[in-house]
């Protein structure tokens, strides 16, 4: 089972002829992902890593039956790339691109909702179902198949946590990096619900960051709707107020969205919060969680 992607997922890559697109197409392919095609306007007929290139997403979908796309298109054009995929009927859109203007994302997320498209990101490392499918830029070698579902707003911090989980023998069902932008596709709550309904997932790790109130909402949702054990970790306890810490979303302002408030929200919902990444596996194994 797993969520969102599995060994049957047919993936296309938008921006496949670019440097990052080509590089990660090779990585995804060697991980075992079915890369059915790529999109690059005006370059139909070409092949990248043995994958056929199409001019439009619609052409790629009609010719390959793709159900998932991974976007590496530069920021000024990425919003449009998401819309193109949505109107071509692609069910799952994963946008890796960093630096998309917020107004573009507001427009795009509202439109694709009407089409029933699911979006992961932007500004994210994508997602992986270990041993089955990698749709993104995560380093496949650190993952191990298992029962822990993981949702994170971060990139390398996610890898850090996954590596520690794998080292302590805890494999993963699906790991998703939802991205650090202020407005993006799926948030914690939607993904928590999918993990709750996935028979292969037996526990959930949630990695949050300062800024916004997605973690507070997730805590509220876990209290009422999630029966599986959840462990949380929040980065940014030492971050100063009003400063942008690399991720556009990780800004503390208006006295809300601080690490302390998020940690309190989880504790009130009965979710243990690890003091450091190395503590997560221990809490999961002790069974001392919600």
């Amino acid at each position: 089972m797993s969520i969102l992607i599995n060994k049957k997922s047919k993936v296309i890559v938008q921006g496949i002829t670019g440097r990052d697109g080509a590089f990660h197409t090779a990585k995804m392919k060697s991980y075992g992902t079915i890369i059915a095609g790529g999109v690059s306007p005006g370059k139909a007929g070409m092949k990248v890593e043995g994958v056929p290139v199409f001019n439009t997403v619609r052409d790629a979908v009609e010719n390959t039956g793709a159900d998932t796309t991974v976007i590496f298109v530069p920021a000024p054009f990425a919003g449009d790339a998401i819309l193109e995929a949505s109107y071509a009927g692609v069910g799952l859109v994963v946008c890796i691109t960093e630096g998309i203007p917020v107004q573009d994302m507001i427009r795009v997320t509202n439109i694709i909702k009407r089409n029933g498209t699911r979006l992961i990101g932007a500004n994210c490392p994508g997602l992986i179902t270990p041993d089955e499918c990698l749709a993104g830029i995560m380093p496949g070698n650190i993952f191990k198949k298992g029962g822990t579902g993981l949702i994170s707003r971060s990139g390398t911090l996610t890898y850090e946590v996954v590596n520690l989980l794998t080292e302590s023998g805890l494999g993963q069902s699906t790991c998703i990096g939802i991205g650090g932008d202020p407005v993006s596709g799926l948030y914690f709550t939607e993904l928590l619900e999918m993990f709750e309904n996935d028979p292969e997932t037996d526990s959930i790790v949630l990695i949050g960051e300062i800024g916004g109130d997605s973690e507070e909402q997730a805590a509220q949702f876990i209290r009422t709707c999630i029966t599986k054990p959840v462990v949380a970790f929040i980065a940014g306890q030492t971050a100063p107020q009003g400063k942008r810490m690399g991720h556009a979303g990780a800004i503390i302002s208006s006295g809300s969205g601080t690490a302390i408030e998020k940690i309190r929200a989880f504790k009130e919902a009965g979710v243990p919060v690890a003091g450091e990444p190395a503590g997560i596996a221990g809490i999961l194994k002790s069974g001392n969680n919600k």
Binding site: G180, V183, T238, K243
Partner: protein, 378 residues
């Protein structure tokens, strides 16, 4: 990106939002030169990117030229929350009957722009929001149609009922929305939005922030950027592809990835140390980036030890290690450096560091503890 009040006021004016007319001055001489010799009441306002400037003495109401010159002398050069005042805005003083609040922001949860208005303006709006949330009226704007007239009117009705004032307030909200959208703003605030004794609604203070990711298509906004002294290092870092924020601790941090960088800072604190900075070198293993990052770290005289924390994902640890060695050879600072490498090709990376005569560590907790220990000795 942030702009000053006087710049926000200029944008308001351009979009037809009534403002109090003002004159910007950078010195007392300029005030002497530009202010007419009369007895009119005026407001002298420090131009700084810090809230609560009124309480800090950065706003003075005076009558006549001589008093304006004197007040300008007091405010210019003043330090408000770490910001030195080198510009003041001198505006006409209006007779205030009532103060309101109007603001616009991008909202993550509704994935839309939100208009917020309140009959409690002029004060700290965050306190109003926390103590009496019912006094803040929110309008969620559908991105497909934008702010509709009836929505702007409904918001205006929360503040005024007189038909003439209702039209004025509605017009201001519609104009503010147009300004917000056309400039890729992330925050636009009129606080206070004032009802004068002459029955006019005027923006007396304005604040605007803009989306850094959209500056490529906002040349007019980008031209308004004024680099502040305290941000000079941060902007220089940005130009080199590094994300740096200075803090006040003693342990310099160099990390790949923003989330991991924050977690590293937290861990230093957890084990009893204080991070000197946030520094994200991104995904590249380019040695020049590591050299640049080291230069920035050791330019901070508070730094007593450096902690380099790299998790190799797509970036391989051996590439990063080679970059680190090149960088470290160039830098003879005498400041102890702790290197932690983990992830893809970690073994090869660790060997490269060892060959350079340094003893790397593999766990993040261990690295943090070691850096704290070394910072106390040096």
């Amino acid at each position: 990106m942030k702009i000053y009040e006087y710049q926000a006021t200029e944008l308001f004016k351009k979009y037809g939002i009534p403002v109090t007319e003002g004159i910007l001055c950078r010195s007392v001489e300029e005030v002497e030169e530009k202010i007419p010799d009369d007895s009119k009441p005026r407001v002298i306002k420090a131009q700084v990117h810090a809230g609560g400037r009124g309480k800090a003495g950065g706003i003075k109401i005076v009558s006549g030229k001589a008093a304006a010159v004197e007040a300008a002398g007091q405010i210019l050069g003043m330090n408000i929350k770490g910001f030195v005042v080198n510009k003041i805005l001198i505006t006409e003083a209006v007779e205030i009957e009532k103060e309101y609040y109007a603001g616009m922001i991008n909202d993550r949860n509704t994935r839309s722009v939100i208009l917020m208005v309140s009959i409690e303006g002029g004060v700290d709006i965050e306190e109003v929001a926390a103590a009496t949330p019912a006094k803040i009226f929110k309008t969620v704007i559908d991105p497909a149609v934008g702010l509709m007239d009836w929505q702007a009117r409904s918001a205006a009705l929360k503040l005024v009922s007189d038909p003439k004032l209702l039209r004025q307030a509605t017009g201001i909200f519609l104009a503010l929305y147009r300004l917000f959208m056309e400039t890729d703003s992330t925050l636009a605030e009129i606080n206070p939005m004032v009802l004068t004794s002459g029955k006019k609604i005027v923006a007396v203070d304005g604040k605007m922030n803009f989306d850094d990711n959209a500056l490529y298509r906002q040349p007019g906004i980008l031209a308004m950027r004024e680099t502040m002294e305290d941000e000079a290092v941060e902007i220089a870092a940005e130009e080199k592809g590094l994300s740096y924020i200075k803090l006040s601790g003693t342990i310099g941090c160099m990390v790949n990835g923003a989330g991991l960088a924050m977690a590293t800072m937290d861990m230093i604190k957890l084990y009893g140390g204080e991070p000197a900075n946030f520094l994200d070198i991104g995904g590249s293993s380019n040695p020049q980036k590591v050299v640049d990052a080291m230069d920035i770290l050791i330019s901070d005289k508070n730094v007593k030890a450096v902690l380099i924390n790299i998790f190799g994902g797509i970036t391989r640890c051996d590439d990063v290690a080679a970059g680190l060695v090149t960088a470290l050879k160039k830098i003879q600072s005498g400041i102890p450096v702790v290197i932690r490498l983990s992830g893809t090709n970690a073994e090869e990376g660790l060997q490269i560091i060892r060959d350079h005569g340094l003893e790397p560590v593999t766990s993040m907790s261990e690295a943090a503890k070691m850096a704290i220990e070394l910072s106390k000795k040096s």
